[in-house]
Structures are given as structure tokens and as C-alpha cells.
Subunit: 208 residues, 2 copies
DNA sequence: TCGCATTCTTGACATCATGTCAAATACATT
DNA sequence: AATGTATTTGACATGATGTCAAGAATGCGA
């Protein structure tokens, strides 16, 4: 058989870059084909559709992100772990120029449900899977912290709460583009969950 | 001059319905024109572009939503107010069949940044404005609660945290479609912010 | 009452997107 | 070297956004 003239992973990296910067709606397969030096038809042959290509590219991203979260949550005091987790997440949202935001949140909102039939199942699965895995990792960190007396509470509810906040941060990033604001919310969340040992709150600083 | 053959507000209502159910990407001006019994060209004449039409329709929605939030946050104990606020928000996300989700979050992620140039300023403003106004209302409720001794803390930070959680709920709604989960997170958030007076936590109930 | 300016409507058109297909192509295997 | 097979390539169909010019309908002044 005839060998493929491009590297599959190269294309996925290039596609993720475009999708992340411009969104699914704002990216055409012609763009990606040009960037990758590949014919548009070859992309259809290799991946099937724009959505399928995005999903493949997204899965690479998700794997990397989960790995990084695991590393961030794996060492130090519970407060250090959570701080590292939020730090990683916010830095991720703010990477690129201009900042690219959160591909999970954006992809979830952009994909599927084009004709009244609900969100495409593959897509929903991909995004839900990431949220579930991150929640699990946070839960583990909280459970470990509980064993060491750093956390008293239900790790499940707290983990879900924390991950919900990270999703909210993704939305606020898009609305305000104010990184300092995101970091303030993150710090406040950690204080709430951990019981605000140490750390005094700065008065008057909620910007629009 | 020749009078317009359709009611402007009718079209905005019809457009919002489509946009809310199917998203901006999933709705064509032909759809809206058919629904409204209007020529597609007339929509361009009256509104300029699909995005502009969406923004106009969205502004109507935003006004209604802010009004409802104001009502929900205006009476009863602080806990009751916050409960009513979350209740309203989640019910809003879950309205329609299938549930339509949060138009703010979805619109924010779908619009703009098509060619590397950041999010369209009008769009960003519309969404940011809603978040800002809601945050302000929550802040007022917390400040009032603080006066009555129901809340001790910085209303600004707490309000922003609460609103961030509602944005996160919008994302999780889309990912899992599990209303009970959303309500659980909301209850937990209220407990965290208010200090968990009363209410025992149910163990083992974090579903994927 | 008539005509005119102004706005709205309508259909044609240009452009670009996704997605399909058949024919040409180039390698791997025998 | 011949052949099978997957890939490439360009043409095509469809549908979306957005523009434009010409026609239509009304309000208003003469």
C-alpha cells in the first residue's frame, strides 16, 4: 500500500495549535492543511471529519494536561498541592499570545448539538472524562491530606467543588482576561476548602 | 419610508430560542428566517450580521436573567437568598428539552477570535457585563447578610467565588447533564461560604 | 391627490466552508 | 516486475455568510 506522506502526530500537534488559538468554529481544514503542508482531502481520509480531527488532537492535549496535574498534586503539603494545581491550570489558560484559554471548556461549548439532538456522545465523553479524571486526582490529594490531618471534610464533595471552580475560571478568563483576578479566586478557593489557616484577606480589590 | 414587515422583538425572541437550543455555530440565519417567516436578507438589513443578531437577542436574555437574580437575592435569610440564586441559575440551565445550558457561557466560548485577533470587544463586553452585574448583586446580598451577622468575610471575594462556581456549573451541566450533581455542588458551595451552620454532609455520593 | 424620498424586501451573486468521490499514484509484497 | 491497496489529488455538491442592485411600499410635503 501507499505510505502516508505526513506524520500523523505532526498534524495533530498543528491542528491542536490552531484549534486552541482560534476555536473549532474559527479554524477551517484548509488552515490546518496549509499549516501542515498537506492536502485537505488527505485530512478527511486520515481523520474523517473536522470534529473527529479536533477530538483526536484534544485527546493528546488532555493526556498531557492530566499528566501535569498529577505531577502538581503529587508532592508537598496539601496547600502546596492545591496551589500548584491551580497555578498549573491558570498558567495553562493564559499560555500563548493572545492567551488561548481552556480548550476543554471551549470545545465542550462549541461542539455538538447542531440540530436539536444533544451533544455528540464522543465529544461529551472526551470532555467529561477529563473532568472526571482531574476530579479523581484532586480527591486523592485531599484524601491523602485528610490522613495527615491537613483536611477535614468529604474529599468527594470538596474535589468536585474545586474542579467546578477551575471550570468557572476558564469562563472568567474568557470574559475578563484578567490573570490576577483568576489567581485571587484560586487563592480564595483554597482558603475556603482548607479553612483559611494563615493568610489574611486583602480588603477592596474586586475589579471588573 | 416603507414599514418593516416583522416585529423586531418577535424576531429576537425566535432567534434567542434557536441560538439557545443549538448554539451560534449550530444555527443558520436561514433557520431563523424560516422560523420567523422573514427573508434572510431582511435580517441582514435589520441586524447587520449573525453575530450582531445573537448579541441583540442575548442582551434581552441577559436583562431578564439579571432581573430574576435580583428578585431571588432580595428576600429572606442569606442562606435562603443564595439558595434561591443557585436554584434559579440551575433551573435556567436545565430548562428546555433537551436542557439548553447556559447561553452566556456558551456564547462566550463560541464567539469571536476567528483569526487570531482576540475576542470581539462587543461580545466580551456583553458577557462580562452580565457576570459583573450578577457578582454585584451577590455582593450586595452578602453585605446585607454581614450586617445582620449572617456572614463574616469579604463580600467581594466571596461574591466572585460564588459567581465563578455558577460559571463552572454551566460547564459541568454540558459535560455531565446531571442536575442532581449541580444542585449538590451548589449546596456545598453555600455551606463553604456560610460556614456550614447546620446541614450534615451526606457521605459517598459523588457520581461520575 | 399626486409624487417623491426613504426604507424595506427580494433574488442574484460572490466567496468560503464541509464533505464526497473517482481517478491517478506510489509503495510493499510476492 | 506485477499487482494489490491505501493515499493523494482535483472536481464536485451542498449550504453558509454576507453584499448588492433593483423593485416595492409607505409617509409626507406640495
Amino acid at each position: 500500500m501507499r505510505p502516508r506522506e505526513f506524520d500523523n502526530d505532526d498534524v495533530l500537534r498543528i491542528a491542536l495549535d490552531r484549534f486552541w488559538r482560534n476555536g473549532v468554529r474559527g479554524t477551517s481544514l484548509s488552515d490546518i492543511a496549509r499549516d501542515a503542508g498537506v492536502q485537505r482531502g488527505s485530512l478527511y481520509n486520515a481523520f474523517g471529519s473536522k470534529e473527529a480531527l479536533f477530538l483526536r488532537a484534544y485527546e493528546r492535549y488532555a493526556g498531557d494536561y492530566v499528566g501535569a496535574v498529577q505531577a502538581a498534586l503529587g508532592a508537598g503539603s496539601l496547600r502546596k498541592r492545591l496551589t500548584a494545581f491551580f497555578d498549573l491550570t491558570i498558567t495553562n489558560f493564559r499560555s500563548g499570545t493572545p492567551p488561548r484559554g481552556c480548550p476543554t471548556t471551549r470545545g465542550l461549548m462549541e461542539l455538538g448539538s447542531a440540530e436539536g439532538e444533544g451533544l455528540d456522545e464522543d465529544a461529551r465523553w472526551a470532555f467529561a472524562d477529563l473532568v472526571t479524571r482531574i476530579t479523581g486526582l484532586v480527591e486523592d490529594a485531599l484524601a491523602a491530606g485528610a490522613k495527615r490531618g491537613e483536611f477535614s471534610g468529604a474529599p468527594e464533595a470538596a474535589a468536585l467543588h474545586i474542579v467546578t471552580v477551575t471550570r468557572g475560571l476558564a469562563v472568567l478568563e474568557r470574559a475578563f482576561g484578567d490573570e490576577a483576578q483568576l489567581r485571587k479566586i484560586a487563592a480564595h478557593t483554597i482558603d475556603l476548602v482548607l479553612g483559611k489557616k494563615s493568610r489574611q484577606a486583602e480588603p477592596r480589590s474586586h475589579e471588573r
